[in-house]
């Protein structure tokens, strides 16, 4: 089955629609599916819910979909870098569900593994536990969190082969594998599609079974906080 598509817009055809729950990879601006986000903006799909650790910045990442009011709700752990996000949230235009970062990652992983719920210590005794089932194991309290089953996953990897086997690079891996796993359909954008057989099977980070469509493109890969040190001596 052909998985390689010519462009992000083409890969979204017949898959993207209004009101979807989309799981997106990335941490800050690192490892975000920037080409697919741009294509979603151009597509115009609205009332989208994003499960994504962050919401990008005003003019990059999910931020570009906030500007066009395409996002109805965010499920995130940290949204502090985005002024437009704050404005829409404080004015009630945007819904926000805070998840602790590890809970969000595990909700995605669990969804992808067919696990509808799991118990975690994270958030016990905090507002995160409000309304959630509490269960005691070995004398300690845990809260029930639900797996995320997304309609669509959009992720960024470094390399893919034509069957969708993926390799990520350094900390750009982050939320991409769990986000990829939890979607009914997963579209991945990569810097390079290599011939099937050229990746070492022992070095695959995410097997192609999770990947349905692949595109290759040029990435800006913006740096959020450029920090350096002086050369010694």
């Amino acid at each position: 089955m052909k998985k390689v598509y010519g462009s992000a817009a083409e890969a979204l055809e017949g898959v993207l629609s209004d009101g979807m729950l989309i799981a997106s990879g990335g941490f800050g601006l690192c490892g975000i599916p920037e080409l697919l986000l741009q294509a979603i903006k151009e597509n115009g799909a609205k009332n989208l819910t994003f499960a994504s650790n962050n919401a990008g910045v005003d003019d990059f990442g999910i931020g570009i979909l906030l500007q066009t009011r395409q996002v109805k709700k965010m499920i995130s752990s940290y949204v502090g870098e985005n002024a437009e996000f704050m404005r829409q949230y404080l004015s009630g235009e945007l819904e926000l569900e805070f998840n602790p970062q590890g809970t969000l990652a595990e909700r995605m992983r669990a969804g992808g593994c067919g696990i509808p719920g799991f118990y975690t210590k994270t958030g016990v005794g905090t507002v995160i536990a409000d309304g959630k089932e509490v269960k005691t194991f070995n004398g300690e309290e845990y809260i029930l969190e639900e797996g995320i089953f997304a309609d669509l996953s959009i992720v960024k990897a470094w390399k893919a082969d034509e069957t969708g086997n993926l390799i990520f690079r350094k900390t750009a891996r982050n939320f991409n594998p769990p986000a990829a796993m939890c979607g009914k359909v997963c579209i991945v954008e990569v810097e390079e599609i290599v011939p099937t057989g050229s990746l070492d099977p022992d070095m695959i980070h995410l097997p192609g079974i999770y990947v349905h469509r692949i595109i290759q493109g040029e990435h800006e890969k913006r740096i959020e906080q450029r920090t350096v040190r002086q050369r010694e001596g």
Binding site: C30, G80, P100, Q101, W158, N174, T227
Partner: protein
């Protein structure tokens, strides 16, 4: 004289032992890495890395290599990368020996508040709730009082909690306190700070 930021970081570094895997929060905790000396410490960055190295030399920045504060960093010989689910698996699973992090308030029962101020900007908890729930030892490094001179070491936190009964040790500009049965126990005062001064700046019960 109370400790300054670097002296607090240096004191916090004394908490770390050879062989530990440690997570350092943003702010003063980040400075702790400068004071570990010869100890063999592996730093975890919760966005998916063990063995975090220093900031890169100018020109060597890599957009694919950042820490949890989104700063560009470098890798070491021992570095390993993994995804966010595994990263928080090792945090929640108790594999990380200690987390050193900042706080807005700490309660004498070990409650920690460091993620939101209602009515003001709400940024999110990031990985803080997972860290305090999961790691072996939680060490808070913060100023003893806020900018209005009010104690941040309280009988009971007033802000929304990050974790309940999770803090083990508090290192402030005035000294070191442990969370024990019934309140906080004074471990030491900063050089030149008297016990009286520390008590006066502390709302929590000292036992």
């Amino acid at each position: 004289m109370p400790w300054d930021r670097n002296q607090m970081a240096a004191r916090a570094a004394q908490e770390l032992e050879d062989g530990m895997y440690v997570n350092l929060g943003i702010g003063i905790p980040t400075l702790v890495a400068n004071y570990v000396g010869d100890k063999d410490i592996t730093l975890q960055s919760e966005n998916g890395m063990l063995g975090m190295g220093p900031f890169p030399i100018e020109g060597d920045e890599d957009a694919d290599l950042i820490n949890a504060g989104k700063q560009t960093i470098t890798e070491l010989d021992r570095t390993a990368y993994f995804d966010s689910a595994m990263s928080f698996g090792m945090i929640r699973g108790g594999k990380i020996a200690a987390a050193i992090l900042g706080a807005m308030e700490v309660g004498e029962n070990g409650d920690l508040a460091n993620w939101m101020i209602p009515g003001k900007l709400v940024k999110g908890m990031g990985g803080a709730m997972d860290l305090v729930a999961g790691v072996g030892r939680v060490i808070v490094v913060m100023d003893h009082t806020n900018k209005h001179g009010e104690s941040k070491v309280l009988k009971s936190c007033t802000l929304p909690l990050t974790g309940k009964g999770v803090v083990n040790r508090i290192i402030t500009n005035l000294g070191v306190l442990d969370v024990v049965e019934g309140g906080l126990r004074l471990v030491e005062c900063a050089d030149g700070v008297t016990e009286e001064e520390l008590r006066a700046a502390t709302e929590a019960t000292l036992v």
